[in-house]
């Protein structure tokens, strides 16, 4: 698996400049507008989408088919992509946390402090979205998987908005949930995301069982 992960890192090295340029632009933009929510979400989003980018590079040259002619089995191939996904999104979250702390500690963002619960919820939504789209990526390719990701994100956003509206309807405000403990809500998000990614891995292994590479 080390070889496969190395290959992913070399692909990412090629995208490094692009990511850095966009990040630099957003960083400056965030400072000038004193609004940091977007860059924090963006970093997590990039982390969650990295696996799709490397898979697109693989697809362009049928690397997966080639890899399966080497001493690499199907599960190892899938596992390497999930390992990359978890590493990348963890990296994204870590950078977001650092940015959040940085903005909070300086005068730049004291007025726009990003709530930790929001960060956990955002990352969880991205993980759940990818948990659904990763098996699709293995089965039907990156292009379809990207549509599934967008659709899933929209659906999840719709569910959250509908939940808030319903809560309003029965007189339960979102802010009131905090009194039940923001930590517990965050833990619920993390648990659901973790469960989703584990199920996703097994689904990916199963649906590629009879795939023609």
């Amino acid at each position: 698996m080390k070889g496969l992960i190395l290959k992913e890192l070399y692909i990412l090295k090629g995208y490094g400049k692009q990511y850095l340029l966009i990040f630099a632009f957003l960083f400056i933009w965030s400072i000038s507008t004193s609004s940091f929510s977007f860059i924090i979400i963006y970093v997590v989003l990039v982390g969650s989408q990295i696996v799709m980018s490397t898979m697109a590079a693989d697809e362009a040259v049928s690397f997966c088919r080639y890899a399966l002619t080497m001493p690499v089995d199907r599960k190892m191939l899938i596992k390497s992509k999930y390992a990359l996904f978890l590493t990348a999104i963890s990296g994204g979250i870590l950078i977001s946390v650092i940015l959040n702390l940085l903005f909070y500690a300086t005068s730049f963002g004291s007025e726009d402090y990003f709530q930790w619960e929001s960060l956990v919820a955002t990352a969880s939504v991205f993980v759940i979205g990818n948990a659904i789209s990763l098996p699709v990526m293995f089965k039907a390719g990156v292009e379809k998987a990207r549509y599934v990701t967008i659709f899933t994100m929209l659906l999840l956003a719709g569910v959250i908005v509908a939940g808030i509206k319903l809560g309003d309807g029965v007189g339960l405000q979102v802010n009131e949930l905090e009194k039940y403990g923001g930590g517990i809500i965050s833990l619920c998000f993390i648990a659901v995301a973790a469960l989703a990614i584990v199920i996703s891995y097994f689904v990916a292994v199963r649906i590629t069982k009879n795939k023609e590479w």
Binding site: K2, G3, L4, L6, K7, Y10, I11, K13, G14, Y15, T54, A57, D58, A60, V61, S62, F63, R65, Y66, A67, L68, T69, M70, P71, V72, D73, R74, K75, K209, N210, K211, E212, W213
Partner: protein, 297 residues
Amino acid sequence: MGAENAITVENLTKRYDGFTLKDVSFQVPSGSIVGFIGENGAGKSTTIKALLGLMPIDGGQIEVLGHKILAGEKDVTWREQIGVVFDECNFPLGLKVKDVQKVMKNIYRTWEEGKFRDYMERFEIPLNKKIKELSKGMKMKLSIAAALSHDSRLLILDEATSGLDPVVRSEILDIFREFIEDEEHTIFISSHITSDIEKIADYVMLIHKGRLLFTEDKDKLLYNYGIVRCSKKQAQLIPGDIIVGKEEREYETSVLIRDKNKLEESGFFREAEQTGSSSCVVDRATIEDMLLYIVKS
């Protein structure tokens, strides 16, 4: 299924909508080069995918280097001993040549760093170049070097020389010849370029519409097969059991036959002379001729 064969296939069947690879059986003897020819869509790549366990099959048995092939199997250590080259370079284009070396070193236990470097020097491929910056010929040479830089006993090549100019193809064929100098090494090569097969193969397999038409010793094939150029009337005198394919034009009929000796023994030339038509000739048939006549027929 014997160990003297690098590949043994028995009754391989794979069904798709509109195409079936049906009951394909053949052996690739260890130490030989077997050329696999057929038109586009004849079933060459499907057969190769089946050999490599890249798809589930609907019937039959496959053994490669004594290992029974099952799609999606967990035991993959045997693949240390095969080198595969497809019709394109399969390394992500953003990687540098030296990155390929590092990746492969961590995939193959038997990876030989020195051997890979030697190939890169020989092919004049700079280690610092990105794959996307290499020419098609260089990319194919890189793929071949990767296939040869570990403990490969069997090379499986799917259209590996397609789209390359004659100079590069000739260089690549030389590498294959060097590889086969070790009697334990075997090459199974599919190609549209029948002249390449004619140059290096010991045996030729022809597949057409999902059915394997023949597996023959190349030298015997070239010795026995011929094209009879004669009139339509004379062509009718050729024994039916040796006719492989026929092409009729206004002034000439060309008939591909599978046994020139048998044609002579049949008394064809004597009878043909008596028809009063101009004399007929028997030309050498190339593998390309065989492919064309069979497909057209």
